[in-house]
Point group: C4
Chain length 210, copies 4
């Protein structure tokens, strides 16, 4: 592969479309692959046995729901971000790839949680999941600050107030997920449940926007 050339905003405005399309593709695939971790119990010979086997998979359902909701909120955030970002450059592409890297990893710790929650490896699994979420939140911040600093890549017509408000909101993410990471040392289940609660909280406009 050749080296991409580097420089200022070398790609015009409507080129953000392809970055969004690629990111949408990755997010859509990751969110859909999560279902592959819901395993069908094979060759059980009674309905009672099947019912019990399915009920025993509650960790899988919790892990699936948590990661689905979190990635869903990530998509909403990514979507909103690119209504504010109007130009792209080499570093934005790279930061976006780094963001997608952490998002692509999510199914792995999700599967760990599905397998080990309620068992002895639960702490490690919850730490892994929250570690990935924390990294994602950090990269979201870096990407946004890179784009917003001196309005480097901000679309025309976006007010400084909107930028400040966005920066303020993003600042909390890494701390919240790091707190959930720490909680995993005390209670892995509480930590994963907090992840799900956070996604639902971000989905519900209980909080004011200012």
């Amino acid at each position: 592969m050749p080296e991409p050339t580097v420089g200022g905003p070398l790609i015009e405005r409507n080129e953000t479309a392809r970055v969004e399309a690629f990111s949408d593709g990755v997010l859509a695939i990751v969110i859909t692959l999560l279902v592959l971790e819901l395993h069908v119990p094979r060759q059980l010979t009674s309905e009672a046995a099947l019912r019990e086997a399915l009920a025993h998979e509650w960790q899988s359902y919790l892990a699936f729901l948590t990661s689905f909701a979190t990635i869903g909120i990530m998509w909403v955030n990514h979507h909103r971000l690119f209504t504010l970002i109007g130009k792209i450059d080499h570093w934005l592409l790279m930061l976006n790839l780094l963001l997608l890297l952490f998002i692509c990893i999510v199914p792995f710790p999700t599967a760990l949680v599905a397998e080990y929650l309620g068992h002895d490896g639960a702490r490690l699994a919850a730490l892994a999941l929250n570690g990935v979420f924390t990294c994602t939140a950090i990269v979201f911040n870096i990407l946004w600050r890179y784009a917003a600093s001196n309005r480097r890549l901000i679309a025309n017509g976006v007010s400084d107030e909107v930028i400040r408000s966005q920066t303020k909101q993003y600042r909390l993410g890494p701390f919240i997920y790091f707190a959930s990471f720490l909680l995993a040392f005390v209670s892995p289940i509480a930590s994963v449940a907090l992840n799900l609660a956070l996604a639902v909280f971000f989905a519900l406009p209980l909080h004011t926007a200012d």
Copy 2:
């Protein structure tokens, strides 16, 4: 992750494009992943054994066809919906994510039906599949009513008559799928066959549009 801000239609009209693209991505992946549940019988040593093994997988083929057809009709509905919806807001994004959640789950009960139809767990499998379809039909209604109420997010140029007609058509969905859910208690196979028949019925314009 930071909190998305909340409010009225904060995203302009052409922003529905990215919601549609993300939804298309998810629907395309779900409909394609279904084939992974068609298992190749391994290491059989005669053509007769392979033929018999493939014939024994009729539940897998029925489950695959049923879910493919149903998700296909869902895509057509989603597509049509977004020819009527011209604006998006925070709640529409959330309801659309909820819709995608139920659609993403479809491969799991499909695999259950493929494994247990004709065996002792068939009732549970058919209930699971119809339960997911019923939830999908309900969320389709909620999403449409939210968008259509007071023409909140309706595109300009869509007549009130078209809105009323759409509302009337959507109203039936949850009841039909719930009836199929109840049928699963009597006959799991008839319930799954009804799902397939419904998808084919919706595909064929046997019904008038008024």
Copy 3:
């Protein structure tokens, strides 16, 4: 799910964009899922054993290449089709879903060929692959004829001569694949090799366009 309304070209011209996007998504996923059938030999303890195990998988490589090339050509055809089709209606959506159904199935007979070519079930596997290809070619014809008849859904500016030429070219597809289907009774390997050769032939402009 509610019933989609039925009628003439109810969706305007730029609406073909979403049909193309959904079809592109499905085609891109199917073509990429094929690689999942290339199995890594596990836990071999010498390089010689690994080399031999990989060499033994030649059926998998042939099946992968054949289906990749064939789906690639299908994409080119689908792409070209929608440069000629400028409007969509209910039946076109349905025929396109039927086309995608057969394309989505391709990984299953591909895996059959990968498992059984060179063994006793080879004939059945090659028949399955060619059966799916033949059905795809037939649906391509039905879809095109539906769109082209009386220029029902043809884009403005497409000459009648282009339509006639396209119809003439499509006519051959089902017969060629059915011939390959019949060849599978005589020699499964020759039949699969013919599939690959056909895809390469369609890719190379050895034939004149008239």
Copy 4:
């Protein structure tokens, strides 16, 4: 399938959009499927055992990161290429399919590296991965040269200097990856590490663009 007609740039400029969309889809899926090779250790009964099992999978993490980063850079290159290419013709579609073929194969040698790095089959695995990367770099060159020769498919407004600079940069790729291929004979781990380093190097603008 019918034969596509052949000729000059038969598809107008905005038709590059669908080629990009299809390629984006394939690239997004391939980059996301890589995570499926990160296997969750099953049914371990102590956290210590799980920690050790996860630590033992370092080859999987290295393989995942290497292929993710390399495909990410491929996407950036593909993206940049299509800001320069403004028209498509039959051969460009075919060369693009050939490019996607090699990119689609990447998960297979990646899984080989994940399974055999540090064991006896490591050399073969690293050769396979570098072989695929080398082929990809070669096809990138062929595709670009085909498009750039006599400005055959170059968009209006792209200067000859930009074309020359792009050609010069692409020329190195195949040699670099072939050098890494040769390195695999000496040290498979060094070869894979070099692949990762190359992707990071291409991501960082340490090199000047002239």
